[in-house]
């Protein structure tokens, strides 16, 4: 059984004859999957579209990621569940889910499974989801406003990301999450960079905004780039991706540290 949500990935496969599923179940009109619940904790149904996230995403970084995706036509149809279902390292919501330490909720006739995002993706377009499981939601703790998503690409709209970075600073929980997209077989969490950033916030005080020094921002960028495992491909070279990540890491820190 193949699930069809917005069709923005699956229909391309069908149109070009790359997949010929025998049974397709369309879930785009299942209201139970299209809800967003917020009460300190966010539960976003798999059927929530990017257009919907622009108005209400339960995460500033996720709203920013949704804004970068495709075009109005694609954002009106494409869903977070489809991004998780495709599990491409270039999926723009996935670095955000990694940085938020989100949980993927899977359900089958046998029951419900809650998988930390860190364990969900196992390779390019590969995940631990079994064929009989439906993605029903993604969940995370609301992390406050100090978060951002950025990516580099050839144009602002309609272009697959060459490298993407999400940064979430949860000031209340004293937690820093960073997720890197398009620079490895899965979404990468740069642990050293996160540790370094935590040190900066310990020093500056978690509860108040600060302006990181240029050298601190640069060091964070260096640690981010060092954690990436990029490859050369048609979209960009590994060296370009590393450089872009270092710049984005520094920029993200400077932006987020000033938001309280």
């Amino acid at each position: 059984m193949t699930v069809l949500a917005g069709g923005t990935d699956l229909m391309v496969e069908l149109n070009f004859g790359r997949r010929r599923p025998e049974h397709i179940v369309a879930i785009d009109r299942v209201g139970e999957l299209a809800g967003i619940e917020r009460n300190g904790h966010v539960r976003m149904g798999a059927g929530v579209t990017y257009t919907r996230m622009l108005a209400d995403a339960g995460s500033q970084a996720l709203a920013e990621a949704a804004r970068t995706i495709g075009s109005p036509q694609i954002r009106n149809a494409g869903t977070i569940g489809g991004n998780l279902g495709t599990a491409s390292p270039a999926g723009d919501t996935l670095p955000v889910l990694a940085a938020l330490e989100a949980t993927v909720v899977l359900r089958s006739k046998a029951g419900e499974r809650r998988v930390p995002f860190a364990d969900y993706m196992t390779g390019p377009k590969k995940s631990v989801r079994r064929a009989d499981e439906l993605i029903v939601a993604a969940e995370w703790d609301e992390a406050g406003p100090a978060q951002t998503y950025m990516f580099v690409s050839t144009r602002n709209a309609m272009a697959i990301s060459i490298a993407g970075l999400a940064m979430v600073v949860d000031r209340a929980r004293k937690r820093v999450g960073i997720g890197l997209g398009s620079c490895g077989p899965t979404i990468i969490r740069p642990a050293d960079a996160e540790g370094f950033a935590r040190g900066l916030f310990d020093e500056a005080g978690w509860e108040r905004p600060h302006r990181p020094s240029e050298s601190a921002a640069k060091e964070l960028g260096r640690l981010v780039a060092a954690a990436a495992r990029p490859i050369d491909d048609v979209r960009g070279t590994a060296a370009y991706r590393r450089h872009a990540l270092a710049v984005m890491g520094a920029r993200a820190l400077s932006r987020v540290a000033q938001i309280a």
Binding site: V12, I24, S71
Partner: protein, 161 residues
């Protein structure tokens, strides 16, 4: 084959569709509505833009079998006989139509924009049309056409539609 019933431009249509067929194929090849164009079949060009239950989507990315019971509006619904609607007229008057292949998709996308936002800024127009490619015009006249259509529709209201 699966039988579906779908309301297209206000008329109830019943047709059989293949399991993996896109709505674009159904419109063009089964329902005699070739206005929505087929260029890329991968959501990149927007020339197949239609309104599905009033939401702007690429018809090439909609599974025909899944529109059973739903409502589709295509570019064919806009003109009244040979009388063009304000958006179509603005495209003609500003020279935004060269080969014309992208025009139906752009006209539908413009309608979707102006319905939500009757006075879009330049940036908002570019953003709203970012999913529609044109190989001929360089977009300048297209943006102008949208501004002109916005002005007409703002002055004369939606009855002019």
């Amino acid at each position: 084959m699966t039988r579906i019933t779908v309301t297209v431009n206000g008329a109830r249509e019943e047709t059989a569709v293949e399991a993996h067929e896109s709505l674009l194929t159904t419109l063009r090849e089964r329902l005699g509505l070739p206005g929505s164009k087929n260029a890329c079949e991968q959501g990149e060009c927007g020339s197949c833009s239609v309104l599905l239950d009033d939401v702007l989507v690429c018809a090439c990315l909609v599974l025909a079998a899944s529109v059973d019971g739903r409502e589709v509006r295509t570019v064919e619904s806009l003109a009244d006989g040979s009388a063009l609607d304000p958006v179509q007229r603005a495209f003609v008057e500003t020279g935004a139509v060269q080969c014309g292949f992208c025009t139906p998709g752009l006209v539908v996308a413009t309608h979707a924009l102006l319905r939500e936002n009757p006075e879009p800024s330049l940036a908002e127009i570019r953003e709203a049309l970012s999913g529609n490619l044109c190989r001929c015009t360089g977009y300048g006249q297209i943006v102008e056409a949208v501004q002109r259509a916005a002005k007409t529709m703002y002055l004369h209201g939606l009855d002019d539609e």
